[in-house]
Amino acid sequence: MRAAVDALHPGPPMKLADALAIASSPAPASASGTYTLALVCSFTPLHLRTFLHAGLRQRFPTHAVDVTTGVYDDMAGTLRNLRGERVDAAAIILEWFDLDARLGLRRLGGWSPSDAGSILDRAQTWLAQLRHLIGRLTRVSTVAISLPTLPLPPVFSTAGWQMSPHELRLRERLWAFAADVAQDARVRIVSDARLQVLSPAADRASVKSTWMSGFPYRTVHAARLAELLVQAVDNRPPKKGLITDLDNTLWHGVVGDDGVEEISWDLDHHSQAHGVYQQLLGALADAGILVAVASKNDPGVVDKAFGRPDLLLRREQVFPFAVTWGSKAEAVARVLETWHVGADSVVFVDDNPTELAEVAAAHPDLECLQFPAGEPDALLPLIAHLRDRFGKANVSDEDRIRLESLRTSAVAMPLREDGDGYSEELLEQAEPQLVLDFVQAPGDTRPLELINKTNQFNLNGRRISAREWAEWLDDPETFVLTASYADRFGPLGKIAVVAGRAHGSTIAITAWVMSCRAFARRIEHRCLAALFERFDAQVATFDYLETPRNGPLTRFLRELTGVTPAPGLRVEVDSFRAACPRLFHRVTLRTELEHA
């Protein structure tokens, strides 16, 4: 069990000596590839490069890491040279002196009031050029951008406690540039607010180092900036679900004792923290995060409480309600089972330390957080932490329909009690429709997202970088099949991805993932049948690896072949057809030829 403190109360930064040791340690012999980051800055990269290297080694322990740098004082040239390179990500570090050298301390171009206009003009020109160069780069790589972190020197005429119109216009142009480039899903702007928490403004600049070596940062600031840049370039998939307690967590009071009308979440009752928490949970639910309730309560009373129109988390945003007088750990288990997600993808919030301890003991992978009832100042760290856990840059169509599809499935299509999936009758009555698409839109981020966040139906658990995915899509020898599912109860969206190569009569499948929401609908059978048909193949081989979590995929292959799967597993088309159950899907096949 942990308190939610890490978002706004960070631990100590990495020390330079430790970063040097990590960066110079040999890559693991079994390294599965090299993660390449292009560090783009106009100053001597020095310790920033070291901290980035060390941070990436920690973030990608199975990879070697290469941090490339460009030429001193030539950011445009460095960006142009990257056009032909395949890098996993670029980190662009902007400082004020990049917008105009007069905004730095290494050049002496003049700070006369008459210079202010030309500084603004030059900044505008450079930002326009930078926007163009970044646009080219994002076609192949993720780009993290750090906006100026150093204090603006006293260039303009006003005293330091007053912002001059020139400074305001300069900042306006910078923010307009940032807002513009951030429209691209591959661009991630490092949060200046979070950096301010990690690295206070007064502790950032080193004038001594600027003049001595051309490196403008204090060591500790370089460590903190690198920390955020590593998080930005990696952008781990968010957790999938949040399970919340009710009494003194979602609302103030004990609904069973106090009554439905007496529980509160507002300023008048000094219980605003619960209202803010409800508001966040509602926002998370609307962004596709699963929200459930686990509470020791009377289900009828809870039902009435959720009938209150002023509750900010609506009844339809929650599924399931695990409301019983039994163990909280069992209620949480019921939610996880309904969602088909692992405990490590879920956060549990409760005000009661005893309940938290019980749940944590039963579900060690679950992140358990204490709601700070009666401690208003502890609320902000909690909600900031939750936003970190569930943050996503874009809300996709799949996000919007996730909760509804789960609810509909659980109600309309209950699984057979023998654990063998849906009955034949239910499968047929569902009128399932599949769109199997062999053509991938370059800007579609959903297939890669599925590959990198799916654990249970996953052929080998391997994660793929944006660069590797771009290379895969460019390779004419490869195929990618995505499956979108809908039935009479509603759409599930794009829920499966199969990637591989076809050679003669063999298809070699290297990646195969399917969302847990789509289990037990025989979609995996239909996908494999479609692959055999499309490539007129006689044999499919599978780059299978057992992982701690891919039991559902393993079970599928075992049922198909009658043997425990092993790496390199082969399935003949005839044996597949013999083992394949009856399929009810109405299939729409999209191929390159039809698109053309």
Binding site: L16, A17, L20, A21, L46, S209, M212, S213, T219
Partner: protein, 80 residues
């Protein structure tokens, strides 16, 4: 102050990981090929971090061996 010496060896090991402790004790820009201007700046930063001191850039030109740096640190500790 044996502790200062051990901590200084640790700093040198971070910047020049290929050197043995014996080589570190004899290290200077002449004996260590990797000891260039950037390595000097890195070593300075590691020393400032480890010993929580601010080293005058003018002193850097004089700090050109393990023993000279050790003497400098001893002197700084006595002054403070």
């Amino acid at each position: 102050m044996p502790d200062t010496r051990a901590r200084l060896v640790k700093c040198f090991s971070a910047v020049f990981p290929e050197l043995s402790e014996r080589e570190i004790a004899l290290a200077s820009p002449l004996s260590v090929g990797a000891w260039d201007s950037l390595a000097s700046v890195t070593l300075l930063s590691v020393l400032e971090e480890e010993f929580e001191v601010q080293i005058d850039p003018d002193a850097l030109d004089q700090l050109v061996s393990f023993n000279l740096i050790l003497d400098y640190l001893h002197h700084e500790q006595q002054v403070s």
